[in-house]
């Protein structure tokens, strides 16, 4: 055997130590796995016990008329999070009388006080439960505690805070929320749409109108989509005005998705020749909704557009027009000299048959 130098001895020693450290580390991690299993089992058991104890009471509360003298079991502080989770899930799945009963139950159990305490907790989940609970309780006195959470870095927390404020006082909450829609890029439009719907047109339209009138094209593009959640003449009027005044593609596209006013038809007809295909496509779609007989030729022309989506939407729009029967569609198709136009009409007619 070759005599190993000091240098080589060092390598071997290093390998020994690294190997031993890895082996010890692995055993420690195995112990960790064991402890995690034990802990999780105990957490699961505890949660299950809380649910078994409280779910029947919550069900009873929403189904029966409220009885102030009802005797309730004691809600331990250790059970609070699991209970609040269950209570919030119940709240989100019902409306009307049942939710009023749930709030009475909550007050009887003094969970409003617990929720206020939980707002100071550093854990996001605990804080979120507290915010959601105070929102459902419509507790005006905690407004100052909830408002700062609108600016929370954590997205779900900021959204739940916005919803809680809307639940407490929509008219006061919406003017706080709309400027933040412009500031925050992380608030998903879909969820904001449902939030503003929950607030109701009465609370939203004025704030939205003033923000749109003073906004940048980018800001208007962000806000205008929420008009869709506010059906009514006020929203239609804002859309018409934007269509007339704006030359920003994003704003026009958003408006075209919602336009319902026949007075906008002349503008719509012009937009079917727009250089941006997305706008031509949305114009075709809008003509399908509010177009008149004289718009049929515009739509037939769009069947030969260079973009598949424009042709497809034009064909769908044609098929939807009340004066276009299957026979007329077939005739239009047979008259097409453009193969793409004939193909897209054939597809849309077949879709109609399958529908």
């Amino acid at each position: 055997m070759l005599a190993l130098s000091t240098n080589s001895d060092f390598v071997v020693q290093l390998a020994w130590w690294a190997g031993k450290a890895a082996a010890i580390g692995a055993v420690l991690l195995l112990i960790c796995v064991f402890l995690l299993h034990v802990r999780q089992r105990s957490v699961d058991r505890h949660r299950k016990n809380v649910i078994v104890k409280w779910r029947p009471i919550l069900t009873e509360t929403i189904l029966r008329s409220w009885d102030e003298t009802i005797r309730l079991p004691r809600l331990h502080s250790d059970d609070m999070e699991a209970f609040l989770h269950e209570w919030n899930v119940f709240h989100d799945s019902i409306t009307g009388e049942g939710s009023i009963h749930l709030n009475k139950l909550a007050r009887k159990l003094k969970i409003d006080r617990a929720a206020r305490r939980m707002l100071r907790d550093k854990r996001v989940y605990t804080k979120l439960l507290a915010v959601a609970t105070l929102g459902h309780l419509k507790d005006q006195t905690c407004w100052e505690l909830l408002e700062p959470e609108l600016d929370a870095d954590n997205l779900p927390l900021s959204l739940v805070a916005a919803r809680a404020l809307v639940q407490i006082d929509a008219t006061r909450a919406v003017p706080l929320i709309i400027p933040r829609i412009l500031e925050r890029d992380d608030w998903p439009p879909g969820r904001l749409g449902s939030l503003l719907q929950e607030a109701g047109p009465g609370a939203v339209v004025d704030s939205l109108r003033s923000a749109i009138s003073s906004g940048t094209p980018e800001g208007i593009g962000k806000l205008v989509i929420f008009l869709d959640a506010m059906p009514g003449p006020e929203a239609d009027e804002i859309i018409s005005q934007l269509l007339r005044d704006s030359d920003d593609g994003r704003v026009i596209a958003s408006c075209l998705n919602m336009v319902k006013n026949p007075a906008d038809l002349p503008l719509l007809r012009q937009l079917t020749c727009h250089h941006f295909w997305h706008i031509r496509m949305l114009s075709a779609k809008a003509l399908g909704r509010i177009g008149k007989k004289e718009d049929t030729d515009q739509l037939i022309r769009l069947l030969t557009d260079s973009q598949w989506w424009v042709r497809y939407r034009a064909a769908q729009a044609l098929a939807r027009l009340p004066w276009i029967s299957q026979q007329i569609l077939e005739r239009i198709q047979s008259e097409q000299t453009d193969g793409f136009a004939a193909d897209i009409l054939e597809q849309v007619m077949a879709e109609g048959e399958y529908a």
Partner: protein, 473 residues
């Protein structure tokens, strides 16, 4: 240089390689741990219905199929039962020579549909598009064989109606809420272009009606080894890289993509064995070169299950194919590493994969051979031999056990302590032959790549006992 000098230098090289490899993975482990804690906290939040209500984007599910007569009906039926507000299923029959197409026609009452098909990505010719008269959201594209899965997927992308598309394998088993979970990153961040899902091994599980009913460990040792591998690969590998926006691969078994971006980069590449990884890297390269903000991420929930090969031949085919795919993907996208806009993915994840994933098998096998030969000829003492073996095996066990910790603190798919202990034993046993065998297969894959041919559906299919194919981890 004397023999002694050579041995000492070689010892240094191999030890340094092993330690840096494992330190790299341990670092990734730490990053993944923090990402997992964040993910779990957010996940507990999403259990409240008010936080995440149903504003999901519609999804086109693309199911490429070549000679899948044994599984196709069950797969489509399971997909039809997914819980998601709006989705369509597009099955692409890639010129199957068995009864796949006829089965689909009979089972789902398909009728020829005169679709104005748009060939935005070039593919083999389309023979026709069919639509179910029973399920309005089911269409089948019947096309000529395009030589591989990529061509079939590209045809599906051409026909997809929705802005997001999800590619799955015919033998992938999804959870009912898989789409709801995998779409979340698209809802939270509008720059998201692709999301991968955690793939778990279905061997040993009870499957009913196309869904996993009961999770259990398989009896087969090879499948057990692969469970440990998948835990390592997904729970800290993918999660760690994803949290740095440096995810190198979205598994072909289940991934969700933004359609327009995939079309902009040219769709799936038909000239590679690793089309999933190649596309992921190309997306990084394209978006970085354009300076466009983007996110390619990963959902840690176990949302897709796949059958792993249980015989050596099937496993060998799979690993050879993966290594070829890795090599091709890295070579095709080497500019990501040399680009001035490479970022973490180009300057860190890419070289890491070149050094430790691509060259890893060569170094590991050479190192092992060197130690054994040196010991055999008496150039290395028994103590040195044992020390090097201990460090190689110990590090491997440490990494695998850390994946078990991740599993225990997160999803607990295997909730019984005994199951964790069995997996721990497998993480020791995998170092005694399995890992080395894998490295040999991967070296064969590298040789195949060096003298390679183009992939075909047949070669891309692992010939496991179960007759199912598995996708790259």
């Amino acid at each position: 240089m004397t023999l002694q000098d050579f041995i000492i230098s070689a010892q240094w090289v191999f030890l340094a390689y092993f330690i840096s490899l494992n330190l790299g993975y341990l670092m990734l482990n730490l990053v993944a741990m923090s990402a997992l804690r964040r993910y779990l906290a957010e996940r507990s939040i999403t259990s409240l219905p008010a936080v995440y209500s149903s504003f999901e984007l519609p999804i086109s599910i693309l199911l490429p199929a070549y000679n899948e007569a044994s599984v196709i009906s069950q797969s489509v039926r399971a997909l039809l039962q997914l819980e998601y507000p709006e989705f369509e299923i597009v099955v692409i029959n890639d010129g199957s020579t068995d009864k796949t197409m006829q089965l689909l026609i009979d089972e789902f009452s398909l009728k020829y549909f005169p679709e104005a098909y748009r060939a935005r990505l070039p593919t083999a010719p389309i023979r026709g598009v069919y639509r179910s008269t029973v399920y309005p959201n089911l269409r089948v594209i019947d096309k000529k064989n395009g030589g591989g899965k990529s061509d079939a997927i590209n045809a599906g992308i051409n026909d997809a109606r929705y802005p997001l598309f999800c590619v799955i394998d015919a033998d992938s088993i999804l959870q009912r809420d898989s789409l709801t979970r995998v779409v979340q990153p698209f809802l939270e961040d509008k720059t998201t272009v692709a999301v991968g899902g955690t793939v778990r091994i279905a061997n040993g599980c009870t499957v009913n009606d196309g869904f996993i009913e009961k999770v259990d460990l398989p009896q087969n040792a090879l499948a057990l080894f692969q469970i440990v591998e998948y835990l390592r690969a997904f729970l800290f590998g993918r999660l760690g890289w994803a949290s740095l926006n440096a995810l190198m691969n979205i598994s072909g078994a289940f991934g969700l993509f933004r359609k327009e971006v995939v079309i902009a980069v040219g769709g799936f590449n038909t000239d590679t064995w690793g089309e999933d990884m190649e596309l992921t890297l190309r997306l990084h390269r394209y978006l970085r070169e354009k300076g466009q903000p983007y996110r390619i991420t990963f959902v840690a929930d176990p949302i897709c299950w796949t059958e792993a090969p249980e015989d050596l031949r099937g496993l060998a085919n799979q690993r050879i194919r993966w290594q070829r795919g890795l090599a091709e993907s890295l070579v095709m996208n080497y500019k990501l590493m040399t680009s001035g806009r490479g970022g973490v993915v180009g300057w860190f994840a890419f070289p890491f994969h070149v050094i430790f994933e691509f060259l890893g098998p060569v170094v590991e096998i050479t190192g092992l051979a060197f130690i054994i030969i040196a010991y055999w000829f008496g150039w290395l003492s028994l103590e040195s031999f044992a020390a090097f073996m201990l460090v190689a095996i110990g590090m491997g066990i440490l990494l695998s056990t850390s994946a078990l910790v991740f599993e225990a603190m997160s999803f607990r798919v295997y909730p019984r302590l005994f199951q964790s202990f069995r997996l721990f034993l497998m993480s020791i046993a995998e170092n005694l032959g399995y890992r080395q065998l894998n490295s040999i297969w991967r070296i064969i894959g590298m040789i195949g790549w060096a003298f390679g041919t183009q992939p075909t559906w047949g070669e891309m299919r692992a010939s496991s006992k179960l007759g199912k194919k598995a996708r790259s981890v």
